[in-house]
Amino acid sequence: MARWTKVKNNTKINLSDIPGMGIEELKKQIIEMKMRPVGFFGKDWGFGCVRLFVILADDANSDLYISSAIFGPNDKSYESITQDVPSFHIFEREFYEQFGIEPLNHPWLKPVRVNQDEYQFFEMEGEEVHQVAVGPIHAGVIEPGHFRFMCNGEKVYHLEIMLGYQNRGVEDMMLKNHSGQLAESICGDSAVAHCIAYSQAIEVLKGIQISNKSQLIRKIALEMERMAIHIGDMGAISGDIAYLMGAAVFGATRTLVINTMLDLSGSRFGRGLITVGGVNYDLSDEFIEKAIKTFDKVGKDVDRMVKTMLKNSTVMSRLEKTGIVSAEKAKDIGLVGMAAKASGVELDTRFDFPDKWIKELDIERVPFCGTGDVYSRFKLRYKEVKESICMIKKLFEKWKEYKEEPLVADGIGNNYIPDAMVISTVEGWRGEVVHIVMTDINRKISRYKIKDPSFNNWYGLALAVRNNGISDFPLCNKSFNLSYSGNDL
């Protein structure tokens, strides 16, 4: 273990403390440690060298482990880690795409977000097998992505998802001119989560301590985002199975939540609320009173609708045993967040890497025993909505104690701590949002790495639809509700 540095979430790491070793040795140790990858990315290390950083998470003990390996100008390949630890598959593909260092014998070495022209689809042959190509332009107002199904009649043997149409080069933009606004637009439905992750990272690198009050407001906004999107998704799932009542009720309820966000921040999705050093808008006693009333109503409406809905046998026959991802598979391919929890793998950054409020407010993790089908993902959303309402109420109470504190911390300079790194993780509604930021000796940001949970989870969707009817694909897709732009960056 000596060759790994143990670090915490949201703390400064000196680059000089990060050990380095040969890639062979690194691979051996990764296999031995049996931990979940959180980061696996390269950085130009000058003179044609590339330094590969690997961050593993020990969720049980709230620790992160970091180590690295250097590739010389002539090292253009290495034995892939995916062969032994499958959850590295997408990370290695991304590393290959960004730095051209090939993981040899990688079972699925395909483009992640660029060079789609060279994409080779997996093909099955046989008289009865036919291909269905969907997208990149879809019906309805959704993002672009291409889906290729290998079917036999109605049954899907294999689905391949090709993304990258939304690639905007966010990581590079962040280097040039980073801002909260940019972080918010990484993935529109997780604007709050991404902006918190960004702000936390910058605050650590600038050595800013933000007030308790703004920490609480951030947490409240994060939970409100979770509630709003979960309720919206429950409506979308109802819509996909043509259960109109659910679609109508959840749609209306979601509006109540996002309108509360509008009251707070002037944006229904919480854009512009969070800033480096704190938050831009404060709560007030009137707001809290009104919000509690609204959330009580939301809780009651959602309760009633879910109960009615799950009593309906036609609904249950659509949701149950559709799109199953077993816990074993979920662990293998490295699902995170909601998709993992629904499969019975408890991964939740809020509890795995708790901040002081989780302890202080006595918020307990309630495990969710899911079977990984669409029903589990629906039920999990319901559970999390209820938990979020409870949590928000506790946070409101706590806010009253710190009412007088400032919104934004003083003395935010332009200088960063030199030669440092920070790993900032936030549990967005979809799963862990990770921003990793590095500075160089000139006190400039030299690497900005973003990982949206969609990046891990798209492959889960591909597994979920195997052996299901092709007509159930939209339902499976909606139950994951992954982000295209979060993956494409």
Partner: protein, 306 residues
């Protein structure tokens, strides 16, 4: 006679729009919305007719003529069904067969026009539609044939005689017949729980997906033909419910009432239940067949058992 014919024609051409509008209104009501006007489908039709249309380069003549066949087939089939005034234009033994296969012709044209586009979605929709129709057809024939045996009339008019002529057996047969025809209406009309007319998800569609490449007038004709078909099946249900020998005006009123009631029923079913998973749709449509078998046994009991 001419007046009756005109009334029937007007009702056949325009009531389908209002029925669709009423279904949508009912759905809006259950969802707690105000909903669009019941005339909205008519406005949409006019809008589509005014629009230009795009034809894919991969299609052939089949694609162009199919919409005309679709409308012509339902209108021709409509000649044999007793409509609003209780009269059919053409009364002939075996009208049931002509009715079913004329509708079949329209459907066949629609299926091959969908295949003609070469899109994988449309082929999928066509295969689903063909499959479901194949199950509907025998049940429909079993039902009508038993009714004919029961009443001894070899035309659609036999439906009128069911309740009045055969006592308790007749009432039972009528109840089952209404259920069978209602399921047929949901299937043929592409409604929930068989199909979802509101979805935008190509992979789950049946009827709509076959029309993906149609636009403008073609699309208008296909949708219109489909709603006329729904009205024709409702007419059969109306025949079972409305007594035969009542004044014409009263008959028209009852007919419209039945059509309206069916629209509300369809809307309510659509609001109250989710769509069935595709493999289970067969089981749902097979309800028709099993009920038709019950009808056959009831008729046998009545005719042979005394």
């Amino acid at each position: 006679m001419i007046i009756k014919l005109l009334v029937n024609l007007i009702i056949l051409l325009f009531v389908p729009f209002i029925m669709t509008g009423l279904i949508n209104k009912t759905k809006a009501f259950w969802a707690g919305r105000k909903g669009a006007s019941v005339f909205q489908p008519l406005y949409d039709f006019v809008k589509l007719v005014k629009k230009d249309f795009v034809v894919s380069k991969t299609t052939s003549a089949v694609f162009n003529i199919a919409p005309v066949f679709a409308v012509a087939s339902v209108l021709f089939a409509g000649l044999f069904v007793p409509l609003a005034t209780g009269n059919a234009v053409i009364i002939t033994p075996g009208d049931v067969v002509i009715f079913a296969y004329t509708l079949g012709l329209g459907k066949f044209m629609m299926l091959i026009s969908a295949m003609d586009t070469g899109s994988s979605f449309e082929g999928m929709g066509a295969s689903r539609e063909a499959c479901f129709s194949a199950i509907v057809e025998p049940a429909f024939f079993m039902l009508i044939a038993s009714v004919m045996v029961l009443t001894g009339i070899p035309t659609f008019y036999s439906l009128y005689g069911v309740v009045s002529s055969s006592g308790i057996y007749g009432i039972l047969v009528a109840v089952f017949a209404v259920i069978i025809l209602f399921i047929m209406l949901l299937t043929e009309g592409a409604r929930v729980p068989v199909d979802d007319p509101d979805t935008h998800l190509e992979l789950t569609m049946i009827h709509e997906v076959m029309l993906l490449d149609n636009s403008g007038l073609d699309l208008a004709l296909f949708s219109w033909a489909n709603s006329i078909k729904v009205l024709l099946i409702s007419s059969l249900i109306a025949c079972l419910i409305i007594p035969f020998n009542i004044p014409v005006v009263l008959h028209i009123l009852c007919y419209l009432l039945v059509a309206g009631f069916i629209a509300v029923a369809v809307g309510t079913v659509e609001s109250g239940m989710a769509r069935i998973r595709m493999p289970h749709v067969f089981e749902f449509i097979f309800i028709m067949s099993s009920l038709a078998l019950v009808v056959i046994s009831l008729v046998m009991a009545k005719v042979f058992g005394g």
